[in-house]
């Protein structure tokens, strides 16, 4: 099967259309100051204008940016059979509070990392599971390959869209890098319980 999607520890067909707005013309925030700006320096978001210009593709199932969903909720709900949402790794968790829907009404929630070395995705996984009590498929999107998978899985993610050009079959093995882990997570007890 030619697929880049790993879910529940196996390669599965990817029938989700992932909508990514073009941000290449957006302004990158430069000034650091208070915390929010601090977190955003060097980052950019699609503007409302960009989001309003996104043409919704023909598909059955889509994953759309949460920012787009908030702007075009009705259109998206009407057009698609199933829809999930995703956030940028530099988005605030608070963005979810603008949703009128229960987060668990979405079958998929994604977190996007532009660069492999961006470790915010792991903490966001923890927060989405713990603070927002999200129960369904949490998906890693973007610059994702074998070497993040073990950590991502332990941070609450259960599906991974492997970056194009990277061997997804090999990546799958990354989930088995270690047989044991010292520390506990939201779903696993620490190793000391077994000792």
């Amino acid at each position: 099967m030619d697929t880049q999607l790993i879910k529940n520890k196996e390669l599965v067909l990817n029938d989700w259309f992932w909508i990514v707005p073009d941000t290449s013309n957006e302004e990158v925030k430069k000034q650091a100051g208070k915390v929010v700006q601090f977190k955003l320096t060097g980052e950019c978001f699609p503007s409302d204008a960009t989001l309003n210009n996104v043409i919704l593709p023909e598909a059955e199932k889509v994953i759309v940016p949460l920012r787009l969903f908030l702007l075009q909720t009705d259109k998206i709900k009407k057009k698609y059979k199933e829809y999930g949402i995703w956030i940028y790794s530099h988005d605030e968790l608070d963005l979810f509070s603008h949703l009128k829907e229960d987060i668990n009404s979405f079958p998929v929630v994604g977190v996007y990392v532009e660069k492999f070395a961006d470790g915010r995705i792991y903490s966001l996984g923890n927060l989405i599971r713990r603070k927002l009590s999200y129960k369904n498929d949490l998906r890693a999107l973007g610059d994702v390959f074998k070497d993040q998978l073990f950590y991502l899985a332990r941070s609450g993610f259960d599906s991974f869209l492997i970056k194009d050009g990277y061997d997804a079959k090999k990546a799958l093995l990354g989930l088995e890098d270690f047989s044991y882990s010292y520390q506990g997570t939201l779903s696993q007890k620490p190793l000391w319980g077994e000792r």
């Binding site: 601090f38 961006d118 915010r120 270690f178 939201l186 000792r195």
Partner: protein, 549 residues
């Protein structure tokens, strides 16, 4: 000391497999340089000026004699017969071949060692007091808490790719020998009615923006230690700056937010997660603690060494400088100086010397060795009656330098000779200062003082907290040295002040000599140490004398 069980062994062996696979994919061009970089760094592998550099972890500075022998074997087989102890209590090999690194890691795994998280933007080796467990001013033995932290921080799934490196240090004594106030997180253990608590400091650090850490949480019950650290690092992971590596440490975030606002965010996160699965229980604390019980000390009487060895002034000098009081009568802790005239660089040690130290540890100190952030080695439990024998062996092997805490006990990074980050060389500066002191009387007359050298503002040589600090700077492509005075580690940690415009390498020894002459002229009594004299008279007398010409 801590012994691996089959879980630890499996984890370390699987790490070698994982690293070998990453290296192979890099060689096969399945990983780019940019992708491989954080992966190799998390395993202590740098690409340096001449060759890769491999940094091996010595968790909280504790080492067995067999482990030290294995390091000697690795130095002989894969390097040029020596290693370098770093200011993070680790050891570095400067000349391994990239393709041989998995083999080295397997040899390390055989003796329960690794290079995990010795570099990269993750939680680094946990450091502590090298005299933990044997020092008379101890309130709590930090070693078992350090081991609990080591395990918790190893491959923590959330904190593999932080904005920048993250250093944790822990102290349990009245005197802070672990520099807790210059760490990202500094932990101070305290005891009340037999219950263990932690004072948590945050946002300290050296580097190009030196900051003294601030108290974030007082008297945190020990069971919450891991969950509280998780909340601190989580907030840092999410909000720390990532676009500018020079402003990415937690100290910059804490400063920008203010410690109160930072604390609020940490506590908001912690309050609903503190009883999570990493809530420590008594069973786990006692399980790890049992690895660090006292060895079988003999009941001894104290020996009056001054009387017995009155003709051997060199030995007595060494006793005075290189040994310290022990919790048990009849024992002392020995610090072996790696800053002798024969060492090529401060902290360097030949494989033959490693084996000598390992044998001494076996014969006289329960087979254990500790490394210090001052880049020396410690035999923690030597009987007073064995001290002369230990000293004799050390002296025969060029390890008998009696200079602990003196000006030639220089802390120094590898500098421009090896490190690709450095602006200037640091080892030749250390050597040129060392050469000022052929006269031991002068050296001893100056007394306790610290001199720290860093080859660039990353401050691996801790120059900010040296009584005298020397920093290599680059001015229009040539190497210059900025001198600071008044830095100090410990409970009264302070950062040195810049004395004025920087000097060329040739000028440095004369400037240091002038600083010392002023101190000797100005001190109240011979007992007044350099730092106390400096705090009394200030920077100006030094400045005036040095720049008058």
């Amino acid at each position: 000391m801590y012994k691996y069980d089959h879980y630890d062994r499996k984890i370390v062996n699987q790490r070698v497999d994982q690293y070998e696979d990453q290296l192979n994919r890099y060689f096969n061009k399945e990983l780019t340089d940019e992708e491989f970089r954080p992966l190799r760094l998390q395993n202590g592998l740098y690409i340096q000026r001449h060759a890769p550099m491999l940094r091996v972890a010595i968790p909280y500075g504790l080492l067995s004699s067999n482990q030290l022998r294995a390091l000697a074997d690795i130095a002989d087989e894969f390097d040029r017969g020596y290693g370098h102890f770093s200011t993070r209590q680790n050891i570095q090999f400067n000349w391994p071949k990239l393709e041989e690194t998995p083999k080295i890691l397997r040899k390390l795994a055989d003796v329960e060692m690794h290079a995990i998280q010795t570099s990269g933007n993750c939680i680094r080796n946990i450091t502590t007091d090298p005299y933990a467990g044997v020092t008379p001013d101890e309130i709590v033995d930090t070693r078992y808490i350090a081991e609990i932290l080591r395990q918790w921080s190893t491959f923590h799934p959330e904190f593999a790719l932080l904005p920048r490196k993250f250093k944790i240090s822990i102290s349990g004594s009245k005197q802070d020998r672990a520099l807790v106030k210059t760490h990202d997180i500094g932990l101070e253990l305290v005891k009340e009615d037999d219950n263990l608590f932690v004072n948590v400091f945050v946002g300290g650090g050296l580097g190009r923006t030196p900051v003294i850490g601030q108290l974030l949480k007082e008297k945190l019950p020990i069971e919450h230690l891991l969950s509280y650290c998780e909340s601190i690092i989580r907030i840092y992971n999410l909000y720390g700056r990532r676009d500018n590596m020079y402003k990415a440490r937690i100290k910059i975030l804490v400063k920008a937010l203010g410690v109160e606002s930072f604390k609020k965010q940490v506590e908001d996160d912690w309050n609903d997660g503190k009883n999570s699965s990493n809530h420590l229980n008594d069973k786990e604390i006692s399980r790890v603690k049992q690895f660090f019980t006292s060895p079988d000390y003999e009941v001894l009487e104290s020996i009056h060494l001054e009387g017995q060895y009155s003709e051997d002034q060199n030995f007595l000098k060494w006793i005075k400088r290189n040994t310290r009081d022990h919790i048990k009568i009849g024992y002392r802790s020995v610090t072996i100086s790696l800053k002798g005239k024969k060492q090529t660089a401060p902290g360097d040690i030949q494989s033959t010397e490693m084996r000598v130290v390992a044998d001494l540890a076996d014969q006289y100190s329960f087979g254990e060795i500790r490394s210090t952030h001052e880049q020396n080695l410690v035999l923690a439990d030597v009987k007073e009656k064995d001290l002369f024998d230990v000293y004799s062996v050390l002296r025969e092997n060029n390890l008998g330098e009696a200079n602990i805490g003196l000006i030639t006990d220089i802390i120094c990074c590898p500098g421009g000779d090896f490190c690709s980050l450095a602006n200037a060389k640091s080892i030749p500066i250390a050597k040129s200062i060392d050469n000022l002191f052929d006269n031991y009387d002068f050296l001893f007359d100056i007394g306790t003082i610290s001199l720290n050298i860093s080859g660039c503002m990353n401050a691996c040589g801790h120059h900010h907290v040296g009584n005298i600090g020397i920093l290599g700077v680059d001015k229009d492509g040539s190497e210059w040295y900025q001198i600071t005075l008044g830095g100090q580690q410990g409970v009264n940690a302070s950062l040195g002040k810049v004395i004025g415009p920087s000097f060329s390498a040739d000028e440095v020894p004369a400037v240091i000599k002038e600083i010392l002459n002023i101190y000797i002229a100005q001190r109240d009594t011979e007992e007044e140490e350099f730092i106390d004299c400096y705090n009394r008279i200030g920077l100006d007398p030094f400045k005036e004398a040095i720049y008058k010409n």
